[in-house]
């Protein structure tokens, strides 16, 4: 499994909170419902989290009277370092993508790296470096 090579989107962020708290915020329905798939104009009407490997989740955000489900299941739960889950928004696309987060403790806080793969169709050679290179390289020459 070469997560790295199939990565499409990668975001890194530092938190002053501990790795434990940041990790728990992904799996605690009360906390996750506030920030994870919430939108400023939507209303999070349902959050179901089955926090075990193979367990499912469903976040329902009501936007303009329309219920938008965010669904997936957990593939890796390694408290408080690593979390991997599949993710799809059936309303928009049937394609399930995969989100991996890695949390490293840094002093009193932590650093989180998120990789969202399969956001784009899954191509053998469509690596993130290839992507970044082509997109940046080409736009730079214009």
């Amino acid at each position: 499994m070469t997560d790295e090579n199939r990565a499409t989107i990668r975001v890194t962020r530092r938190f002053s909170a501990s790795a434990e708290r940041v990790f728990d915020a992904w799996l605690d329905p009360k906390t996750a419902g506030v920030w994870l798939f919430a939108t400023p104009t939507g209303q999070m009407v349902r959050v179901e989290i089955e926090a075990r490997v193979g367990g499912a989740f469903c976040f329902t955000d009501r936007r303009d009277g329309e219920d938008i489900d965010h669904v997936g299941h957990y593939e890796v739960i390694e408290h408080p370092r690593r979390l991997v889950f599949t993710f799809a928004v059936p309303k928009f696309s049937a394609v399930a993508t995969r989100v991996s987060i890695e949390i490293t403790a840094t002093g009193t806080g932590c650093e989180l790296t998120l990789i969202h793969e399969g956001v784009l169709p899954d191509y053998a050679e469509g690596t993130v470096s290839g992507w970044t290179m082509i997109l940046e390289g080409l736009t730079a020459t214009l």
Binding site: V11, F15, S16, A25, V34, W35, F92, L120, P121, T139
Partner: protein
């Protein structure tokens, strides 16, 4: 979250190193098919197939000049793909910002509680 059919064809076209190399060459200026094919260890026919894919994705435009076919780079679909990728990245950044705010608010509330109770329990 929606990748439209146009975006899909852009992404498929970009997913191959030969096609990326062709685009890189064309981003420097117009070229003939034979010129494009020269650096590659593959038949002219194979290169032509790649070019046709790029044309279908509207990343490459072909114009005829007498008997010659000149190819040029069309950046518009690429900009759409870049914008879409950037949008996805922005989405995650915003979510993580919201998480950070939430945790800081919790800290603040806890600190206020501690003050009230006169204790310093973590």
């Amino acid at each position: 979250m929606i990748a439209g059919p146009d975006l899909d064809s852009t992404l498929v076209a970009l997913a191959d190193p030969t096609r990326r190399a062709i685009l890189r060459r064309l981003s420097r200026g117009e070229a003939r098919v034979t010129e494009l094919a020269a650096p590659f260890a593959m038949s002219l026919n194979a290169v032509s197939k790649h070019i046709r894919m790029l044309e279908r994705a509207k990343l490459v435009r072909r114009r005829r000049l007498g008997r010659e076919h000149l190819l040029s780079f069309e950046p518009a679909p690429l900009n759409a793909a870049a914008a879409w990728i950037e949008e996805q990245r922005t989405l995650w950044t915003a979510r993580l910002d919201a998480l950070d705010e939430l945790l800081l608010a919790e800290d603040l509330a806890a600190a206020r509680n501690d003050e009230k109770e006169g204790s310093s329990v973590d």
